[in-house]
Amino acid sequence: MRATILRRIATSIPTIIISTMLIFGLRYLLPGGPVQAMLGGGAEGEITEEQIAAMEERFGLDAPVPVQYWHWLTNLLQGDLGTSYYSQQPVTTVLGQRILPSLELIIGSLIVSILVGTALGIIAAVRRDRPTGRTVQLMTGFGLAVPDFWLGAVAAGTLGLALGIFPAVGFTPLSESLGDNLYTLTLPVLVLAVVTASFLARHISSAMASALDSPYIRTAWAMGLPPRTIYLNCALRNALGPVITFIPLAFAGLVGGTVLVESIFAIPGLGTEIMRSVTSQDYPVVQGIVLLVGVLVALLNLFADVALAFIDPRIRRSAA
């Protein structure tokens, strides 16, 4: 077991190094370079060479690129992600203020999707050649195709504005009131969960369908085990792999989803901050967010692989 974990960590090191290089390289995609973006606003020729040189020196942008990368990386390892060009606050502070609403949103949707998606996936697999199963399959098909931001807009318009059941926009922080916080998050969480739950249901139903076709399930039927035991204990357990590998992917997908859903529901989270920092070319913040998401996804992937090895002895053996 320990060997499996260590091996998995070792293989993720090069990936992480390449990721940091890519993230660092992002800022060189800018046509004018970061200085141009920082000074911003000025028309052509309004920014003097001296100003640019002064800014470059101040932010250490005059050093050779590998040196800059090294500085950035060493600062990063000390928890210093730089300073926002826009608010002049440290990036860690900016992210710290923004991360909680988004994490609530993402974790809430993950929980809802896992509950609903697993249930739908089991139904679709068990009743696969009957109307119930086909209906579920069709529903998840549409669930995958529906744009979450549209669903959000329609939900905010009907349930929020027209009927007034839920607040259409706005957000109450967790620190103020737990009840109001959950109330304002209900609609966005449900909206985000539709797509994720459909993905998960598809994963589970195909994994479970192939488990149901395998000889050991036939044996279980022949032994006269009750259907409940066969479906939930025998088949579902073998179909759990996709659920576990799915979580990191769903997390990454949900981060993308928050960009739109947060802007529709006016939630001050990472999603709205991504939009602001990207469009105003506030590079340290962009890098910070992409890095944060990348690290979280990488960690979740690591946990997922370890968990897989833990539940499935075949994987443990093949990795050893």
Partner: protein, 299 residues
């Protein structure tokens, strides 16, 4: 060289599982009318219809999607305007039809870029093996740890909002998905008998890869391409919604929705119609993919 075990994380947010197609397919099952199920057939019909309409839009008896009739703003459905008019009196039906053009154009760009990068990437990794494989796959992993939509937003905001910029970026970001999938389909073929025979006959390695290995490994790539193309449609609309698609007057489902949704209570049609169009478009494409998987998995 790492063996393609089931432990590797699945490839992308699309949720469609990687179809494990038998490595070497010897017999081809005849694709009869019953082979492509009912739902995929409906999807294919819908997709073809939308494609035809988007190509033929300028020749159809539609109202000008850009013409503003200010006396006729925010009107409900009528015989003149089937889906009503928007804030500035433009015909919603006509804009929806014209929106097909940028939607399918966007999908085409992203898919082409993704395949052009992903296929050589995966083929090289899977067929060359060892060091090259390891390096190429680690780069793919690094790519995949980035949220695609965020990178697309970033690149578009730097290069300027346009359909082409956004969708090309999306294609580049998604190419490792194809690369990984193709690699795992190519790996078992590397030492297959027909490859060894071709080698012993003196066929060069690149030619073997292209002519003998690639066609036999394309099935899962084809299925995944449809699943991703459906997502591209949604991403295209999302970029439009954020104001990063085609610049404003042009009809675009995402952009039109963004303009309309704040006035949802007074004119719900302008928000609902583009969303239904996106959903149907994305659904039809993924339904085709599902149908293909059924056929290719069975043969």
């Amino acid at each position: 060289m790492t063996a393609p075990t089931g432990t590797e994380p699945a490839t992308f947010q699309t949720g469609l599982d990687n179809p494990l197609v038998p490595a070497v397919q010897t017999r081809r099952r005849r694709v009869g009318s019953s082979g492509f199920g009912l739902v995929p057939t409906i999807g294919l019909t819908l997709f073809t219809l939308m494609l035809l309409v988007s190509v033929a839009a300028p020749f159809l008896p539609l109202q000008d999607p850009l013409a503003q009739t200010l006396s006729d703003r925010s009107a409900g459905p009528s015989s003149a305007h089937w889906f009503g008019t928007d804030m500035v009196g433009r015909d919603v039906f006509s804009r929806t039809i014209y929106g097909c053009r940028s939607a399918f154009g966007g999908i085409g760009i992203a898919t082409a870029v993704m395949l052009l990068i992903g296929i050589p990437w995966g083929l090289a990794a899977g067929f060359s093996g060892t060091v090259v494989d390891e390096v190429l796959m680690r780069v793919a992993d690094a790519f995949l740890s980035f949220p695609a939509l965020i990178l697309a937003i970033g690149v578009v905001s730097v290069l300027g909002p346009s359909l082409e910029n956004g969708m090309m970026t999306v294609g580049v970001i998604c190419s490792p998905v194809i690369a990984r999938l193709l690699r795992s389909a190519v790996l078992p073929l590397r030492d297959a008998q027909f490859v060894q025979i071709a080698g012993s006959l003196g066929v060069s390695r690149p030619l073997i890869a292209l002519r003998h290995v690639l066609p036999n490994a394309m099935a899962p790539v084809l299925v995944q391409t449809f699943a991703l193309a459906a997502q591209f449609l949604i991403v295209q609309a999302a970029l439009g919604f954020l104001g990063l698609g085609s610049p404003p007057p042009a009809p675009s489902w995402g952009q039109d929705m963004a303009d309309a949704y704040l006035h949802f209570t007074s004119e719900p049609f302008t928000t609902i119609v583009p969303g239904v169009a996106i959903t149907l478009g994305a659904w039809s494409i993924s339904a085709i993919g599902d149908g293909l998987r059924e056929i290719l998995g069975r043969r």
